[in-house]
């Protein structure tokens, strides 16, 4: 087996083991209802994490995601409350804004040779601030179209539902996997993660790729914001604080190397589900505090970082005898 699949398989095994443990304690967890909810509840995180996967694969980081989600929610709430613009039009508008926002960050990162960390940190404050400018209150969204969208679902055997937003997340993951592994753009993303200088020498359009990566991350953060606003039916500028860190966690637990160049979009899906599973377990238990989620995720993160180090070590030493 190729060593690069090892983290992905480890993630999958951990998820299945964890799921089995949960089922052993609460057999109800093994129902399509719970699975459907797992998808719905984590849809916004999953979608944002796909964008984050591309960013991290290229060796970057995007801290602005949570703020963009909050901005998107507030923007939609304000627009739908104060005007007669149809939600679909508002969606298109906010997606365009989020994409441009990401593209601008990508351009700054590349052309001004700034670290992604600091540029997207600025983006994080900027987007959060813009959300506050629009409104400081939590604004409910009562548009009838929202009710229609929320009513859309596919029924699963056993009473579970794949809601619109859950399905959308699955679609985004599918497209993300194709984009990463079946397009030149995807290979270029991995190439950047392998080493920008070498990638440039090999003719990778570094500038265009960098801008596109952050534009994609912005677009998906915007989409995630739309999903979040559908999920909560409200827009609030203090929402989704720290989602970028959850997304990074999902990516790393999913087996992507934080230094870039190695990983899978599919792994991020499992990483998202693992976080959702821990949350679900705590909900089922009822007596555990929610900070147990954080503790478990913290431990998992450590374990994965160690695993990655181990794999790098092993693969380095395996190729030495020439």
């Amino acid at each position: 087996m190729k060593p690069k699949y090892l983290p992905l398989i480890a993630t999958l095994v951990i998820f299945l083991l964890g799921y089995a443990l949960c089922v052993a304690q609460y057999p109800n967890i093994l129902s399509t209802r719970v699975i459907g909810n797992l998808l719905t509840d984590n849809a916004f995180l999953g979608i944002a994490a796909v964008g984050m996967t591309f960013v991290i694969l290229s060796g970057g980081i995007d801290l602005s995601i949570g703020s963009v989600i909050a901005f998107t929610g507030v923007f939609l709430a304000v627009v739908l409350e104060h005007s007669s613009i149809h939600p679909l039009v508002a969606f298109a508008m906010v997606l365009a804004i989020a994409t441009l926002f990401g593209a601008a960050m990508g351009a700054i990162i590349h052309y001004l040779e700034m670290p992604a960390f600091i540029v997207t940190l600025a983006g994080m404050f900027l987007a959060r601030g813009m959300a506050f400018v629009l409104s400081i209150d939590s604004i409910p969204i009562k548009h009838p179209f929202y009710a229609t969208l929320k009513g859309l679902y596919v029924k699963l055997p056993g009473g579970g539902r794949i809601t619109l937003i859950g399905g959308l997340m699955l679609l985004v993951f599918a497209v993300g996997i194709l984009l990463a592994h079946r397009t030149r753009f995807g290979t270029n993303v991995y190439a950047l993660g392998g080493g920008t200088a070498t990638a440039r020498l090999m003719g990778v359009p570094v500038a265009a790729t960098t801008v596109r990566i952050y534009a994609l991350s912005g677009l998906l953060a915007g989409l995630s914001g739309i999903v979040f606003s559908l999920y909560t039916s409200a827009g609030y500028s203090l929402a989704a604080v720290g989602v970028e860190l959850d997304a990074i966690t999902a990516v790393v637990i999913g087996g992507t190397l934080l230094t870039g160049g190695s990983g899978f979009v599919a792994g991020t899906f499992v990483g998202t589900l693992i976080q959702g599973l821990i949350q679900t377990y705590i909900t089922f238990d009822g007596s555990l505090s929610s900070w147990w989620t954080k503790i478990l995720i913290g431990l998992l993160l450590f374990a994965f970082i160690l695993l990655q180090k181990g794999i790098i070590y092993v693969s380095r030493h395996r190729r030495q005898p020439a």
Binding site: K2, R182, G194, G195, M202, G203, G261, R319, P321, A322
Partner: protein, 504 residues
């Protein structure tokens, strides 16, 4: 279309860096279907010439003709699309991508807008079949040996450019079997009419593979010869810049030798330098001669513990000592001025004073700081003693000239009052006046009773200040010259002789 059989011509190429003239009107002509070795010692201008040809550097003057038309590549990628492909010792591919992706990055076959991975892998296998390589192209490049990565890099370069292939020290990290494989590939490409430039410092490989040889020295063209008509001795003379007939006897005061202090027995490290025996007396300068890559620097680093030895033992005055790290070596009063002072010697942004006290402070430990007054006294003392030319001791050392930086590093080690001092190329890249001063300094230190090891490519210099010279070749100590045999002629003979013995 072509009027000449030259596929690539570089005419009167000039390139200057601040303080040095790296290339001085160098001509270089490459025929189609030949392997052309480009030789010269470190700093001769080989890599600068290569970089000018591939666009990594912008040349200051001269012209490059490819297939008779003038070209001006602005970067290596453009050079590649023009037809000049380069493969470096350090493989410039992406280890995290698969072999096939590396071969076809940026030009993957597509179907319906998606990369056709099946077709790409098939084509990659076909391409590599031409290179006797039957490997799983869907694996990451990182999972293969450097030799295979090298071949993949060649395959990509040839597939992309297809006229000129530049191999920059491709064999430096390969074993004999891999070198043979590489050479089979090179011969096949030569038969296809490619012009191949081969940069190396392994002379027997030059004789094995090349048709012609061009030698550079100090940024100037020494000459281009047919390999068949150039024997090793003449080639080495071209490279190190002296005629064998001319002989200089430097009048040397043979000082009475002090007691034997340092004994190294069977000392070596796998892959760096073969085990050797070495005795060094007090008040003795032992020179290390040899071509680039012969193991001189490796020996120096081993003696200082920069790389720990995996065989043999070291003794001082009959007591076994541990030299597993530079810290351990410093405890035993060893000092080491490395070859490349820019990267491993000076700390450019620190002042002359801070650079000078660095090693002494390190030996004393950070819990016992050297007082500022003491630092000033030390710095002033050595600035005066070694005649370091600087406006004042607080000037950042990077603003000093090469010779003065070298003296400051020497001062750093002298401040620790070493008893065993290793100097690796102490006169590299400094002007002639400073040369003489460094040489005088080495003599003065020997007279003070220090034991010195000096690695140098400047053979006359070695003859001038060494009491003995050890000749290295192929990472082994092969000869020791002293007394009357210590002449530049004998050293060159020793380097060449071992070459010939290997070849026969």
């Amino acid at each position: 279309m072509q009027t000449s059989d030259h596929i690539l011509s570089a005419i009167r190429i000039e390139k200057a860096f601040p303080g040095t003239r790296a290339l001085d009107k160098v001509d270089f002509h490459l025929r189609r279907g030949e392997v052309h070795a480009l030789l010269g010692e470190n700093g001769a201008g080989k890599s600068t010439l290569i970089k000018c040809l591939t666009g990594a550097y912008r040349r200051d003057g001269g012209a490059i003709l490819l297939d008779g038309t003038e070209v001006d590549p602005r970067d290596t990628f453009e050079a590649q699309t023009l037809g000049i492909g380069t493969v470096y010792q350090e493989v410039n591919l992406l280890a995290n991508l698969t072999v096939a992706e590396n071969l076809f990055l940026g030009r993957q076959p597509r179907r319906f807008g998606m990369v056709d991975v099946g077709a790409m892998n098939r084509r990659a296998r076909e391409l590599l079949a031409d290179y006797e390589l039957d490997i799983d192209v869907t694996r990451d490049l990182a999972s293969y040996s450097v030799a295979i990565q090298q071949v993949v890099a060649i395959a990509r370069a040839v597939d992309l450019s297809g006229k000129v292939l530049i191999l920059d020290e491709p064999t430096a990290s390969l074993d004999a079997h891999e070198v043979a494989m590489l050479f089979r590939i090179v011969r096949r490409l030569k038969a296809r009419g490619l012009g191949i430039v081969f940069v190396t410092h392994f002379l027997e490989q030059v004789y094995e593979i090349s048709d012609r040889i061009t030698v550079l020295r100090n940024g100037q063209l020494v000459g281009t010869r047919e390999t068949a008509n150039l024997d090793r001795r003449a080639l080495i003379a071209m490279m190190i810049g002296r005629e064998l007939a001319a002989e200089i006897h430097a009048p040397r005061a043979q000082t009475s030798e002090g007691p034997l202090r340092y004994r190294f027995r069977n000392y070596g490290r796998k892959g760096r330098v073969r085990p050797f025996d070495l005795d060094v007396r007090a008040g003795e300068v032992v020179g290390m001669a040899g071509l680039l890559g012969s193991g001189r620097t490796e020996t120096a680093e081993l003696l200082f513990g920069a790389h720990s030895a995996d065989s043999g033992q070291a003794e001082i005055d009959g007591r076994a000592i541990d030299l597993s790290s530079p810290r351990a070596a410093i405890r035993h009063r060893f000092g080491f001025c490395p070859e490349d002072r820019k990267t491993s010697g000076i700390i450019g942004d620190l002042s002359v004073r801070e650079n000078i006290v660095l090693a002494l402070q390190a030996r004393r430990g950070w819990t016992r700081p050297i007082s500022r007054a003491e630092q000033n006294r030390l710095a002033d003392h050595y600035i005066r003693a070694l005649d370091i030319r600087t406006a004042d001791r607080e000037k950042p050392i990077k603003l000093l000239s090469g010779g003065n930086q070298q003296k400051a590093i020497l001062a750093r080690w002298l401040a620790t009052e070493p008893e065993f001092l290793i100097l690796d190329e102490p006169t590299r890249g400094i002007d002639v006046g400073a040369h003489a001063e460094i040489v005088k300094l080495i003599e003065a230190l020997r007279e003070k009773g220090l034991s010195l090891i000096v690695v140098s490519s400047e053979i006359e210099e070695l003859v001038a200040y060494s009491t003995r010279v050890i000749v290295l070749r192929d990472r082994a100590h092969v000869a020791e010259l002293d007394g009357n045999r210590l002449t530049a002629h004998e050293i060159v003979e020793a380097i060449a002789a071992t070459n010939e013995r290997r070849a026969s």
